[in-house]
């Protein structure tokens, strides 16, 4: 059983593009201070950033929980958003429901979920249309390059 070393919880404000990514930057700083290997940091922070951007783009609000154990980084991102009607479709590279406004901000090109999958060792998404989405991601500390 992995032992928990650290747990932090952050609120994400939907629609606030200026601050989007701040939580991921903070997680990066924490992991770097703890001398976690750079590949793991990179993977974990990409997952956190994509998840954070999804909440900012689509949801009213959300919450990111960051847990560090002696074996992995665990990220749980819950939002009060529209939910994802077709998860299989959402995982296809290039598929997007983003608005022009979102794309002008550099996101919404249909790479978010594929990026999260690529950089996680475990990824599970629970979603309900009209209620919201929860992303559970685990990134091992002994990550391969």
């Amino acid at each position: 059983m992995a032992s928990e070393l650290m747990r932090e919880c952050y609120e994400i404000q939907g629609g606030n593009f200026d601050r989007a990514g701040e939580i991921s930057s903070e997680i990066k700083a924490i992991l770097r201070d703890l001398a976690v290997n750079p590949v793991t940091i990179r993977r974990a922070v990409i997952v956190a950033f994509e998840a954070e951007m999804n909440v900012v783009m689509y949801a009213r609000k959300g919450k990111l929980t960051f847990v560090l154990t002696d074996e992995e980084v665990e990220l749980v991102v819950e939002d009060e958003g529209p939910g994802i009607p077709d998860l299989e479709l959402a995982f296809q590279e290039g598929y997007t429901t983003a608005t022009d406004e979102m794309r002008e901000l550099g996101f919404g090109f249909g790479m978010g979920l594929p990026n999260m999958k690529k950089n996680s060792d475990e990824l599970k998404i629970d979603t309900e249309v009209g209620k919201g989405t929860t992303v559970h991601a685990k990134i091992r500390l002994d990550a391969h390059a």
Partner: protein, 114 residues
């Protein structure tokens, strides 16, 4: 190739990191889509983009890019430049188009990422 050579080659203005142009660049990642950059960059690339908002610097920071080059003469606002300085990421701007930038850098032996 040193970032200072890229500055001269592409007629860039340096907006941040003037003291940090000796960094060596071998790979380039070019896109206006931040998730594309996150998907393909492996770290230490030059990131070429036309997107000048704060997310461009945040993406470079998270992807581990060595420097950001804005194309088509697009300039970020001062808040974005300050953020880049705080992250120690050199920022350059060139009037050239993304396609031309990539062709010139490719001809000089730099490689793309995939």
């Amino acid at each position: 190739m040193k970032l200072s050579e890229i500055r001269d080659l592409l007629r860039c203005e340096v907006l941040a990191g003037e003291d940090n142009l000796s960094v060596d660049i071998q790979y380039v990642v070019a896109s206006d889509g931040m998730s594309e950059i996150l998907a393909f960059a492996r770290s230490k690339e030059l990131m070429v983009t036309g997107l000048t908002n704060i997310q461009s610097i945040r993406t470079a920071d998270i992807a581990g890019c060595s420097a950001v080059l804005y194309c088509r003469g697009k300039r970020p606002d001062s808040r974005v430049i300050e953020f880049a300085k705080s992250r120690k990421i050199p920022v350059l701007v060139t009037p050239m188009l993304m396609f031309d930038i990539c062709v010139i850098l490719h001809d000089k032996g730099l490689k793309g990422v995939s």
